[in-house]
Symmetry: C2
Subunit: 359 residues, 2 copies
């Protein structure tokens, strides 16, 4: 396998067929690539914009291999693709990003340890394997603190807050008594994120910091570029992105969620080794958006220019929000993105709207 840039007409495979895969697929097509999608769920959003789609379980080794053998490079849109699955792809194609980016981010304990080793601060944390180690962790970290399963949590699932010592047993039950991590509460003023990309040759480019507004554990809005960010803080965010992207030997886009401690300090909350909801603003407001940038990196191309031409408020359309499509279609300020999901369900990300304004 060569590491030369993939020529147009090459096939890029995406493991995972949700909205991120869908937006990656259309961005890849704009650069002249054929995009294939592998997803266990039938009729997934990305399959309907892909040159070819494969519907089989993650653990169907033959299907994964048949998919990957047709691809000049393989990427993933979803951090919970099994490491064994990407391992098959890595043997027969270029896997970008590599398995390391998954291994180090699928487990919150491994992830936070990696971040600290990369020289970047996190909130205090401790491993929890049973009620005894939970009590020891509370004694070490203090309360309030949040107990999270080490694996497979997202959008607030698999988490329980502990505000007083008496909550410990209930929290341990609430997360299903699974291997966990206890995290101290950060005294943060707001949540920021830096979305960045790293190329095959190690170049890192970041978009300006965005400010994220959550509700019910789900991202509601990103305001970008975040206001009140001085040059030193933006520079520190880029340093963090370089340290983490380099430490992962990542190729492609990744996102780092940050707590802004107010006095200029930033601590990392978590890493997403993929394009990210907090980067959706970039697709309409920047020279090169996150989906194109990721496909450039996966293809071994030089990174595009992430500079914004506009400021943006990105608003997620969650569950029944998507039923407002007619009003949104009539709003000349709303750049509407709908994901083609067949059914509206509470808490499901159905689309998003970008509203631009002059920088």
């Amino acid at each position: 396998m060569t590491t030369a840039p993939l020529s147009p007409g090459s096939v890029i495979g995406i493991l995972g067929g949700g909205q991120l895969g869908r937006m990656l697929a259309t961005a890849g097509a704009a650069l002249g690539f054929d995009v294939h999608v592998y997803e266990p769920e039938p009729d997934c959003p990305a399959s309907r914009v892909a040159a070819r789609s494969f519907c089989a379980p993650w653990d169907d080794e033959g299907a994964v291999q048949a998919f990957a053998e047709r691809c000049d490079a393989v990427t993933y849109e979803f951090e919970n693709v099994p490491v064994a699955t990407v391992g098959i792809a890595a043997r027969v194609s270029h896997l970008r990003p590599g398995a390391r980016s998954l291994e180090l981010t699928q487990d919150r304990l491994v992830e936070k340890s990696f971040i600290n080793e990369a020289g970047v601060a996190t909130v205090p944390f401790a491993a929890v394997d049973d009620i005894q180690s939970l009590e020891a962790a509370i004694a070490q970290i203090g309360l309030p603190a949040v107990l999270k399963t080490r694996r497979f949590g997202y959008d607030g699932k698999g988490q329980a807050w502990i505000r007083e010592p008496g909550d410990a047993a209930k929290a341990w039950q609430a997360i299903g008594e699974k291997p966990a991590i206890l995290e101290g509460a950060a005294a943060f003023t707001r949540e920021l994120s830096v979305v960045a990309a790293r190329s095959v040759d190690g170049m890192v480019k970041a978009w300006p910091l965005g400010e994220n507004i959550h509700g019910d554990g789900i991202l509601k809005q990103t305001l970008a570029p975040a206001t009140g960010v001085d040059a030193a803080t933006q520079a520190r965010a880029l340093e963090i992105a370089r340290a983490i992207g380099g430490g992962l030997q990542h190729v492609g886009v990744f996102a780092v969620e940050l707590f802004d401690l107010g006095s200029g300090g930033l601590v990392v909350n978590e890493i997403a080794p993929r394009v990210h909801n907090t980067g959706h603003w970039t697709m309409d407001a920047c020279g090169c958006g996150q989906f194109e940038q990721h496909m450039r990196a996966v293809a071994g191309w030089p990174l595009g220019d992430p500079s914004p031409h506009s400021a943006c408020v990105m608003t997620n359309l969650i569950g029944e929000d998507a039923n407002d499509w007619a009003a949104l279609a009539a709003d000349p300020q709303a750049r509407l993105h709908l994901y083609g999901k067949r059914a509206v369900r509470a808490g499901r990300k159905m689309g998003h709207v970008n509203r631009l304004s002059p920088l």
Copy 2:
């Protein structure tokens, strides 16, 4: 069939699977639609970004009907789709734009007569059916003049210039002795085009005029917004778009190629009843680009905001130009669009590049 706006998840069918169909398909997907493509050529560019593609001849009535029956609305990306083909679609689905837009633009004589009847100036023209009527037309219009087949010409094909009376027989042979039109030469300073959209309810919105640079009969560049256009000329372009769009009862995007006579006068060269190469700049430089706008109109949605946020130079990648993809990928100013065509051929449109600058 209702004329209510199509809800997300509806199926929009595109007759024609070239680069215009490809860019329409991805724009439709971004709005949450499933896009089906019908194209006689196998492995066409649009098929690789479509939810479903149908490969059959234009005159396969059963295939056209089976395609259209699955669609909540049908459009076309190519003005030479047979009127009989779109007629089948119109019987079982919403056809947008309608057959009238094709009927009035597939034949240059019918088209120019329609334009004049809509109150808009063209160059002088006359019908040519044989060498005798060609000589009469030369006597009426004067020389130089250009002889064009009435049907199926594009990118300079099916055309021959007549500079002196002795060229007439050779020109008649050059165009294959087919029914033709002789057009007088316009004393124009430049070629402009207005790209506009008309909604189901008759609203017309236009992008600013672009200036078009041709070479070898093929569009090379569009500079937009065109420089040196005063408010009166831009207003006249919008009037022309309204007269033509309304006269066609068009639904969707259309383009009007114009000769700028220099003193503020505009005469129409020709109409394209579809998204158009001279509108490619809008996809990166405007609030709503031509591909999204067309899909909005086809869906019966309100039109988006065509206002540009940037100026743009659009450069076509023709034939071997596309071999420069690596240099273009490395140019941070170049927004690269490649069409996924399998083979480079001389004169073939392989992609385009948009370069933005502040307005």
